[in-house]
Symmetry: C2
Subunit: 196 residues, 2 copies
Amino acid sequence: MAKIKPGKNASKRDVITQKAAALFKTKGFSSASMRELAEAVGVEAPSLYNHIGSKGELLQGICFKVANAFISYLDRAENTPAGHATRLEQIIRFHIRMMLDHFDEVYVANHEWKHLKEPYLSNFLIQRKGYEKRLIALLENGIAAKEFKPTNPYVAVLTILSAVRGLEFWQQHKKNISSQVLEDDMVNHLLKGITK
Amino acid sequence: MAKIKPGKNASKRDVITQKAAALFKTKGFSSASMRELAEAVGVEAPSLYNHIGSKGELLQGICFKVANAFISYLDRAENTPAGHATRLEQIIRFHIRMMLDHFDEVYVANHEWKHLKEPYLSNFLIQRKGYEKRLIALLENGIAAKEFKPTNPYVAVLTILSAVRGLEFWQQHKKNISSQVLEDDMVNHLLKGITK
DNA sequence: TGCAAAAACTAATAAGCATTAGTTTTGTAA
DNA sequence: TTACAAAACTAATGCTTATTAGTTTTTGCA
C-alpha cells in the first residue's frame, strides 16, 4: 500500500525535477513524455508518481522557482543605495549569471510557461508583467535623473531583457570565451553601445 | 478518386500554412492538433491532406521560408556600397520589420524549428550557423575599420540578434508606441547604448 | 447539360500519451 | 529476525493523435 507522499524525501523529487528541466528544454514540454523522463531518472514511468503529482506540476515547480529567484533579486536591488545605472547594471549581471548557472530551468521558464494550466498560467504572467513594470520604472527614474538617454523605457527594457535571454544560444561557444568576458561585453554593449 | 496534388491551387495551401503558423505560435507545434488547424481553416481534419503532405511539412515550409528571407536580404546587404555601421543598421532594421510584419512565421521559425525532422533539422541549423557567421564577419570587419568598439564580435552579434528576436513580446504594447519609434529607439540602443 | 477532376466528408487504424490500480521488492528500525 | 512503509514493478484504462481508405459532394469547363 504505497502512494503516500511525505515531505521527507525532497531529494528524489528534486532529481526528477532537474531531469525534467533538461528534458523539457531539449524536447519541449508537450513532446517530452513521462516515459522518457522515467528513463532519464532510471525508473519505470509509473514509479515517478510516487514522488510527484503530475507532469504539469513539474512544469509549475520549475517556472515559479525561476520567477521567484528574479523577483527576490529585484526586491533586494531596489533597496540598495546606488545610482540607477549601477542598479540596472547589477540586474543585468544577475540575469546573465542566472542564464549561465541555471540554464535548463531558466530556459524552460522562458519557453514552456505557455503550457502551464490555470490558475498558474495567469499567475505566472501577472508576476512577469509586474517584474517588467518595475524595470520600466527604474528606466524612467534613470532617464529623469539624466543617467540614461531620453529613450522609450519600454523599448529599452525589452531590448535588455531580450538580449540577456538570448544567452540560451550561448551553449556552443562556451569553450571559446570566458563567461566573464561575455558578461562584461554584453553589459557594456547594452549600456554604452558598440559604435565609437 | 481524389488524392492527386497539382501545383495549381497554391492558394488554399497557403491559407492552411498561414493558419498553421498562427496555431503553432500560440500552442506550440506539438500541442497544436490537425483537428484544431482544420477547424481554423473551416474543414474536417482529413480534408487538409488534399492540400498538404503532413503536419511536419507545414513546419518545414514555414521555417525555410523565413530562413530564405533573411539570407536573401543579407546577400543583398553584403553587396551594397556602404560602411559597416550603416550595413549593420540596415540589417537590424530588416530584422525588426520582419518581426513586426511576419510575426507568426518568424515566431514559429524561431521557436519550433527543433521539431523539424531530419534532414531538415540539420539543414536549418546549418543555414542559421552560416548566417550568424556572416554577421560576425561584418562585426569583425567593422572593428578592424575602427567603426565599432573593440568588443567580442560573437557577443555583439548574439546581443543584437537576441534583442531583435525579443520583439515577439511586443504585441501587447503595439498600441502605445509607433513601430517607427520602436525601430529607431532599438537601433540606437543597440548601436550607441543608453547611458549618457 | 453532362462529365471529370478537385476537394469535401465519414469511418477506421494504429500508435502514443498520462495516469491509476494492484502487487511485489527493497530498505530500515525495533 | 520481524514488521512496516517507501518505492519499485506490471498491467490496464481511457483518451488523443496523425494519417489512410473509401465515398460523396462540389466545382468548372466543353
